[in-house]
């Protein structure tokens, strides 16, 4: 399934590269390099698809990382409205309580301290200038 997605991606790259202008092998244009690569990727993906798939299966356990990805995107969205500290603490609490099965006290304590300390380190000491709230 991944290989199929990659093949689609390669196709998109080929189309985009063609639009930018390919030139020739001897006088390459901007699109030549990505086009050649995407073509190679397409061929390799085709071969990989034809072979028997190896690697792990997706089970219900995969919901754990998927939910984490969802929370990460939620964090990014929430940052614009709520700043760093609250969404960050929520994110950490989610990971510890839901994924890590820690207790409420531990999760909240570590979340608040961790988010606060990291924010301080990066925003004040290293000048990243994030929005606190």
């Amino acid at each position: 399934m991944y290989t199929f997605a990659v093949a689609l991606f390669a196709g998109w790259v080929i189309w985009e590269s063609w639009k930018v202008g390919v030139g020739s092998l001897e006088r390459p244009g901007a699109g030549m390099w990505p086009l050649a690569l995407a073509a190679a990727l397409l061929i390799i993906s085709a071969v990989l698809l034809l072979r028997s798939p190896s690697g792990e299966r997706f089970t219900a356990q995969a919901l754990r990382p998927i939910s984490l990805v969802g929370m990460l995107f939620a964090f990014i969205g929430a940052y614009d409205y709520f700043g760093f500290l609250i969404p960050g603490a929520v994110l950490m609490t989610f990971q510890m309580k839901v994924l890590g099965r820690e207790g409420w006290l531990t999760s909240l304590l570590v979340a608040v301290l961790g988010t606060g300390a990291t924010f301080y380190l990066f925003s004040e000491l290293l000048g990243a200038n994030m929005k606190a709230f």
Partner: protein
């Protein structure tokens, strides 16, 4: 300037209080983070890179180099004590390190690792110092076609010499090259592959890419597999290796240092390959090869020495030719570029403080590694009590801040999350991530040098054959690849096959 003068000025740079502080911090933080189960050296470097961006270039690389060997050593600790390899190169460590722990000789194992690493690193750095100037001079005399061939060579070696499916590695290399091309075309300035996004016009930045792929990706993978529960702390009886241990291992260390040095200089060398080859070589030379895999301390010493020797010598192609030979150094390359320092033949003349300062600092860093680790082993072992369920969220938060701080952009954080998802999926399907990041970094170099070569030759592909150095390299590459492929086929039941079977990914 003679070499000794240059080296002296390098030490002047390395011995300033700031740089001493940062090499110490780098080694310490690298070791601490590196010992957390699950994070390999590449992930650690990626995560900690943003901390260095406010520093001078020389200081930044000095700190990053410290983080590098700190992380490599740190990764050995869970490998030896718990049998948990953090990355592919510590898989070989587990083979004899873990049995030693079970015999109650964990302290010896850890101590010999520290000493072997130190000696291997020192030999490598001496070699590096001697070779640096001649190589930089050679590098100055080569042109676009040669650089193109060398970079191709480096990428091919990583693809073909990795464990796991070559085809998968190749597809990831192609993907990495494509992702490296997103943004402005370096020669014509045309915008490509951005899908209309303004944020992507300057390309995908190395930090979100690397932090996402290795850091976030690893944590996503761990979230599925279940977290390390902190049960690994072991009581250490003896912290230092005994005299008997030293006698048993000193020849192994000497052999491995030399071997590791040469393998590390080669494109694709450094880390896994050198440790595997040294281990296999030591087993060949041993009078009792059946001990290997059951707690042969000379086998362990050989792997560790070679590993550190090659880690240090792999700086040679980076500093002199501007070509990172392995994923960890690809990140260093990215870090240097962020500081507007372009590694390569001109580094030695344009930024001699960076060049010689880094080399001098490597001597110091290796010393710090030894000095820190022998006494602090017990403290580090205590850190193994930390549960991943608490550490992983902290790492995510640090990663988010780090990525954000590079360009003050939440878009970058989004890129990192996407790359994290990609890294997770790739690991599930059995892909190794090494070729992806190396290709991402080498892609722009390859493309630019190819197009420059075409301009030079006015469109003729024969330029690669006509220039003797380029042709020579192509021949070496072909012979080398064929030789290694047939060598692997002939050797059955080597440790490398066991590492493939255990399915660890390369970081």
């Amino acid at each position: 300037m003679t070499m000794l003068d240059s080296l002296a000025s390098g030490f002047a740079v390395a011995l300033t209080p700031t740089n001493l502080l940062f090499v110490f911090l780098g080694v310490l933080i690298g070791t601490v983070i590196g010992l957390l189960p699950g994070l390999g050296p590449v992930a650690v470097i990626a995560l900690l890179m943003p901390l260095t961006f406010n520093l001078d270039p020389a200081t930044a690389i000095i700190m990053l180099a410290g983080i590098y060997y700190g992380a490599m050593y740190g990764g050995r600790i869970p490998a030896i004590l718990l049998g948990l390899p953090g990355d592919a190169s510590s898989v070989v460590t587990v083979l004899d390190g873990y049995p030693l722990t079970k015999e109650g000789r964990a302290g010896s194992a850890l101590g010999i690792t520290a000493i072997g690493s130190f000696l291997g690193g020192t030999v490598a750095i001496i070699g590096l110092t001697l070779l640096a100037v001649p190589l930089a001079r050679f590098a100055g005399s080569i042109g676009a076609p040669e650089i193109f061939v060398l970079a191709m060579l480096g990428l091919s070696m990583v693809v073909f010499l990795g464990s796991g499916s070559k085809l998968k590695a190749l597809s990831l290399a192609a993907l990495g090259l494509i992702l490296g091309a997103v943004g402005l075309d370096p020669i014509s300035g045309a915008v490509r592959l951005t899908g209309g996004s303004v944020n992507l016009m300057s390309g995908i930045h190395i930090v979100p890419f690397a932090v996402g792929l290795f850091g976030i990706g690893e944590i996503l993978y761990r979230a599925e597999k279940g977290y390390y529960d902190g049960s690994g702390a072991v009581k250490l009886s003896n912290v230092l290796p005994t005299m008997a241990d030293w006698v048993a291992t000193r020849v192994a260390i000497f052999r491995a240092a030399i071997l590791g040095f040469f393998i590390g200089v080669m494109p694709g060398g450094g880390g896994t390959i050198s440790s595997v080859i040294s281990y296999a070589a030591e087993r060949r030379f041993s009078k009792n090869p059946e001990r290997f895999g059951k707690g042969a301390i000379d086998g362990l010493a050989a792997t560790e020495t070679a590993d550190n020797a090659s880690s240090n010598s792999s700086f040679i192609p980076l500093l002199t030719l501007g070509l990172p030979p392995n994923p960890a150094l690809a990140l260093m390359f990215g870090a240097l570029m962020v500081h507007n320092v372009t590694p390569g033949p001109r580094l030695i003349s344009e930024h001699p403080d960076v060049f010689w300062g880094v080399i001098a600092s490597m001597f110091i860093g290796n010393l710090v590694l030894l000095a820190l680790n022998l006494p602090l082993i017990r403290v580090f072992v205590l850190l193994l009590r930390l549960r991943s369920s608490l550490m992983a969220p902290l790492i995510i938060i640090v990663a988010i801040c780090g990525v954000y701080s590079v360009q003050r952009s939440m878009f970058d954080v989004g890129v990192a999350v996407v790359c994290g998802a990609l890294g997770y999926v790739l690991r599930k399907f059995g892909f190794e991530l090494g070729p992806l990041i190396l290709a991402f970094i080498l892609g722009p170099i390859l493309e630019v040098e190819y197009r420059r070569s075409m301009l030079l030759s006015e469109g003729s592909l024969l330029i690669f054959m006509e220039r003797p150095v380029a042709l020579g390299m192509i021949l070496i590459a072909t012979i080398g690849t064929l030789a290694s492929l047939s060598y692997r086929r002939l050797r059955v039941g080597r440790p490398k096959d066991r590492s493939e079977a255990s399915g660890q990914s390369v970081t």
